[in-house]
Symmetry: C2
Subunit: 466 residues, 2 copies
């Protein structure tokens, strides 16, 4: 067996989730518990938490799957027209045929137009856009392309801590060397170039080239992005920007700047030389279509030969799921004012984003009322990552159970309240600090109860171990 | 850049397809050609060739995507009931939520029941079934799990020649050692254990353990499968059976035997000791739903620890596309006699399989009328792999162009007739023999014209180079 696979860990679906599924089974069998349901706040899965799908997206894809429905009078004409255009872009006018490996050309062009509008007119080219099976598939493909060498010349990949555990899992699978840099918790998880410098300097001791860098997904200021780009230029790092949360910016004064926009506006030598891959997904944003598996990567300044190899690599997996591609099309080219579906689409989109902003606020507020829990403002995305003070006796009890202290806390939380969150140790954290990650996705009323239950449990837990 | 990626080749989407796409662009721009359209007979993509989707599959998935359609009176009640059951098996009753990583439990159970019926009652367990993003995804995951070591202890993988180029591409990507064994063209591509023995003996010179074996996908006799299983037991090979064509058996006297059925019926020690992974897909069969990306692997006798690692590996990619899972559900649990959709479903399924059988017959008949073309009966699957005699002057002309002789032939064929087939060199062939691979999927009338045009071109080509 491949020993690299043994080293793969994926906390978001790790032991805590396995236990949560067992508890659900036990509840079904009537085992008495101090709660009636497990609330899975471990994963960014909006629909599982009750978020309703955006109607236009679903109408278009249903029409594509079953063109007989074109005669259903209840479906709006713009959904029918879109479905017709998408079907014409498919082989044999069927979603059942393979698309081109980098995706349906029409969808790639619509993604390029979307990126241009997002970035205030900076040109985007469809040939730089590769559609994918969710962002994770594209991230792994780009990593696979770039990781090489062995021993001390094995590629090191800089990743932010806390990180999305997919990164470390993919690196373990590829036997790349993970080089950690820490985000500054005390400054709302800001990225600090001095810390990047430290990480590269230390990383270079262990592995040789260290050419990659993975963006954290958190909201970063424009100044910070500029500094990172300069640093990447100096150190010849390939930039990987996880920008799946570009629609989810809630905090006042926060705005989304794409790495590409900043890069291009910086002018030479950065604009034409720093290599960048930016990832997006239909799983996050306001649509939350995780199960349909769609996404894309835009490559910027990638060497043409390397790009040709990327094209070849994606062709081996034939094509991304066509329904995911179609959802992406409707997301990047939504109904326009005056079209039949415009008002419903806008209302649904704003309702989702409005609720997320409210839930972000609520999370920060309730947690910070509890002594010992410290929660940064949730500026974007759909998670909070609160720090918890744990008393020494809790650390000793965890040690006895051979568990990380935050795993010990989260397991107890799950057993006693049914709330499933992920220990910070799965994401990485500074030595001696403890966190958990929780989504803000449950419906507002439920989230409120959950936050209060969790805070109360924390207080009781601290008391028990003091 | 990762040098392993450079070594990846995938003929089915290789240079010949790139050129075919260019020619299509040229035709669109009005460049004069001796033909009006490119016929892509390079890839097993049924819908692209005009095959119509099976209505029930599409109705169910459209309903799942857009539950508002439950009130559409034109959709049959059994499709609505199925959609309702599938939605209830999804988080938040939405196809937009992630499923469990190995797939929706209800679908895994239905797959297990399907396998039991297929194998005459031999038990199947849902926990041995992992749903996937097409068969290729599952094949790569199993390979990833098993390939290890470095230098002479690097895992060697036995693959049949001719082979599906995905295998060699995946092996190149994983830096596994490809160990070829040749199928016997003179006996209709039968698998010969003596040839397997030769390949293992030679392979062991180069690499150490050589623990895997990949089934060819062609129709094999029960005796042959038994011999392979005995051989795998002796040599401690892990069996990978590509069984995606289990529904496509046309030739009289041919029948599908699953490796699992034969294995279990052989009794001890084989039944409980030989490790097997069997792959299936929604892309092939009568449904041909390539674009929706669904499939599964059933693992048999896999060591529990290795299976736990496989579970972890699939969890990193979150989940297979939910729509593909739902299509799979309708395929393994189709409408039953008396249900509203039964008759339409059966008629559509039989029409597809009947047409494929007719096209298989036609292919063999027309090719074998042409001196110099030698075509085995197409017993199953959806391809022919005819051998062509090429005159020495053609070989010299190819050499001058630095092309493999069959690539030279296929390129000329494409440029002069618009017919796109894949050179045999992309699949592997015995030294000094030349082939091309072509699907039998175009509509019968079109296929007939295509076969005649291709045969006529071959005769003209041979004359030109004699």
């Amino acid at each position: 067996m491949n020993p690299a696979i043994r080293r793969v860990e994926y906390a978001v679906r790790g032991p805590i989730v396995t236990r949560a599924l067992e508890i659900e089974q036990e509840l079904r069998k009537g085992v008495p518990k101090p709660f009636t349901e497990v609330i899975k706040a471990n994963i960014g899965d909006a629909h599982a938490m009750g978020q309703q799908p955006i109607t236009f997206l679903r109408q278009v894809t249903a029409l594509c799957l079953c063109p007989e429905l074109m005669k259903d009078a209840s479906l709006p004409s713009d959904a029918k027209e879109r479905a017709q255009r998408l079907l014409e872009a498919c082989g044999g006018q069927s979603v059942g045929s393979y698309s081109a490996s980098p995706g349906i050309q029409m969808v790639r062009e619509n993604v390029a137009r979307y990126i241009e509008r997002r970035d205030g007119g900076i040109p985007a080219r469809s040939e730089d856009i590769f559609l994918s099976t969710g962002a994770s598939d594209a991230i792994v493909n780009v990593l696979k392309l770039l990781v090489a060498g062995s021993g001390v010349s094995r590629t090191g990949v800089l990743i932010p801590i806390p990180q999305y555990p997919l990164y470390s899992a993919a690196l373990a699978e590829l036997e790349a060397v993970q080089v950690n840099y820490y985000l500054a918790e005390e400054r709302c998880w800001a990225l600090d170039v001095a810390e990047l410098r430290r990480a590269v300097a230390e990383g270079i001791q262990a592995v040789s080239p260290c050419p990659l860098w993975v963006s954290p997904g958190q909201v970063q200021s424009r100044e910070c992005i500029e500094a990172v780009i300069k640093f990447a230029y100096e150190e010849k790092l390939f930039l990987m920007a996880d920008e799946v949360y570009q629609d989810n910016i809630y905090a006042e004064g926060s705005a989304f700047y794409s790495f590409k926009k900043v890069l291009k506006e910086m002018g030479p030598p950065y604009a034409e030389e720093v290599e960048l891959a930016s990832f997006h997904s239909i799983s996050k944003g306001f649509m939350g279509e995780c199960g349909l598996r769609g996404g894309y990567v835009e490559v910027v300044n990638m060497h043409p030969e390397v790009k040709a190899e990327l094209s070849k690599l994606v062709s081996v997996r034939l094509c991304p799921p066509v329904i995911g591609q179609m959802i992406l099309d409707t997301v990047v080219d939504p109904p326009k004012p005056g079209e039949p579906s415009y008002e419903r689409f806008q209302a649904e989109k704003e309702a989702v984003l409005g609720a997320l902003a409210e839930k972000a606020r609520l999370t920060q507020e309730i947690f910070n009322q509890t002594p010992g829990i410290h929660c940064n403002p949730v500026q974007g995305a759909m998670y909070s990552f609160p720090r918890i003070d744990l008393p020494p006796r809790a650390l000793a009890a965890a040690k006895e159970k051979k568990q990380a202290p935050d795993m010990f806390f989260c397991m107890r939380l799950l057993e006693e309240t049914g709330i499933c969150v992920v220990p910070g140790s799965g994401f990485g954290q500074k030595e001696g600090t403890f966190h958990f990650r929780m989504t803000i996705l449950p419906p507002t009323e439920k989230l409120k109860i959950l936050l209060e239950k969790l805070s109360a449990f924390y207080t009781k837990f601290v008391k028990e171990f003091s």
